[in-house]
Symmetry: C2
Subunit: 341 residues, 2 copies
Amino acid sequence: MRIVLDAMGTDHHPEPEIYAAVEAVRRWGDPIYLVGPRDVLAPRLEAYPDVRDRIHIVHASQVFCHGEKPGQVLRQKPDASMAVGIHMLKEGEADAFVTMGDTGGALAYALLILGRIRGVRRPALIAPVPTRAGKYCAILDVGANAECKPEYLLQFGLMAAVYVEHLWGRENPQVGLLANGEEPTKGTPLVQEAHRLMAASSLNFVGNVEPKEVFAGEVDVAVTDGFTGNVVLKTMEALTKLITDALKEGLTLSWQTKLGALLAKSGLRRMKSRLLDPVEIGAVPLLGVNGLVFIGHGRFQGPAVLSGIARAREAVAMDLVGKLRDRIAASLTRQKVEASG
Amino acid sequence: MRIVLDAMGTDHHPEPEIYAAVEAVRRWGDPIYLVGPRDVLAPRLEAYPDVRDRIHIVHASQVFCHGEKPGQVLRQKPDASMAVGIHMLKEGEADAFVTMGDTGGALAYALLILGRIRGVRRPALIAPVPTRAGKYCAILDVGANAECKPEYLLQFGLMAAVYVEHLWGRENPQVGLLANGEEPTKGTPLVQEAHRLMAASSLNFVGNVEPKEVFAGEVDVAVTDGFTGNVVLKTMEALTKLITDALKEGLTLSWQTKLGALLAKSGLRRMKSRLLDPVEIGAVPLLGVNGLVFIGHGRFQGPAVLSGIARAREAVAMDLVGKLRDRIAASLTRQKVEASG
């Protein structure tokens, strides 16, 4: 299995990436292709003689930075590490690309270099959210498309169903449409029309869902547009941090609370395991582009980057792109048959 | 001060409402107008001889229930407790109306009976969210308008600025526009155009904000459309519950964690005080209608209903409707001057 890792994605690049590359080789044995400036990477890798021969540096002279405009990436930064890594997918020289770099940049390079899976209108970013039931619910789009059409949302549902079925083992996954109420009349015109399309599709569609159903684990997939999904995901991240910080602050208030926290340690650990853990998730795939592109947070350290590689390996193993291709093709055939019938 | 309380709003009506009415009279002395079926309310009030003469029953023969269609409320339920209570505002017989009933119903009755403040395009529901800074940030619209236009969002900002200035004492409040990124180019066309309008307005506008800025307390007001705001607020409620439930579960895992929790009690209480507390909030005002209408949760018990009355009293005391009227009028004058200049 050939994983390409962008060495320049995290805020502290390339150290977290080098950690992840080294550990990935030690753990799984397969080589890692590390993309970035050779003069930066080569000396650092000398410290790991046990895996040095299985970490292949792929030279890239440029870096696409967080917050840069992704408008004309290929013209302005044709040799960015992201571009070089994604080109390897395109050329069949690698199976998946993992980056902690800018989402907009990765999306732009992926679209320009790989293009979309045949029939896919828009790619989408999918993210897992923790639920009361102890399992994840997948939410998408969490940021690839601020502006969506109803057909995009239907396709997001189809792609996510493939994802949770094959990566999480959910049979006939339940798909909901995120809305401000359960009735089909709720929501914006976009939501109302997407509801109609999804209800008429091959999806196991349960209708509109509110956040409480999502967190209760009542659906496997929650579909929304990339603006709402992004704001919701960021709300979750920020609120989880607010609450856990307030807990930390409370538990360090006095020697008595500190002793209490020490005694309750196993319980606090259990609590933490029920929350969104970005480190465990590592990276999420960009569904719908013609190749496996996984994107994580720029602020990540080595262990989270390693998790990102783990997620990419799972997707390679079950041929995620091939399965998405089949489902989208089947859906288009179904639509054609219905249109002609 | 004359507060009208819908006796039939909570899921367990009218007990929580009667508790709140009794306690309100005991606390503030002013009479409470309790709207609902006389035969249901009168016998229950006999148990409170100390305040009985200051709780005035206003008879209403119907109830608008949670989840009912608010389409033709006035024709179908002209004598609902909500309708009767809001009519009292219209007739100048009361200063504020408080209900834990259905939001859509309250909105429909308020619009039909009171109408909007002159110049206001759409009313909005405003809600406080807790922040790291220990103070609230106001977010709106959290559910009155799923579908918004840029001008609505500008007006939401103006109305919220009045609200946080006069009710929370924030001078020259900072207003942000909730978005999926800080750059003005981010967001949907709605957000981009609202950004332009707000930047050109009299608001102390700080531009787009992401949830992490909201939770950091970097703005006093976060403006969004009623679909996004509703989903974000419900995400916050559901996630706060998920995390606090996971904490409870963890802390009751064994005798050791239970002992730890006991020792850490003051710290846990401190933590809880930093979170969203619907009971303390009680009810939120519908900004932009021509009268003070406060709406709370149907699941609330007596103390939360009492908080709702407290919030309404604060708004009456500072003449919220009058101040909103002035700000909207000034904004319209400003727009006219600019258009003619």
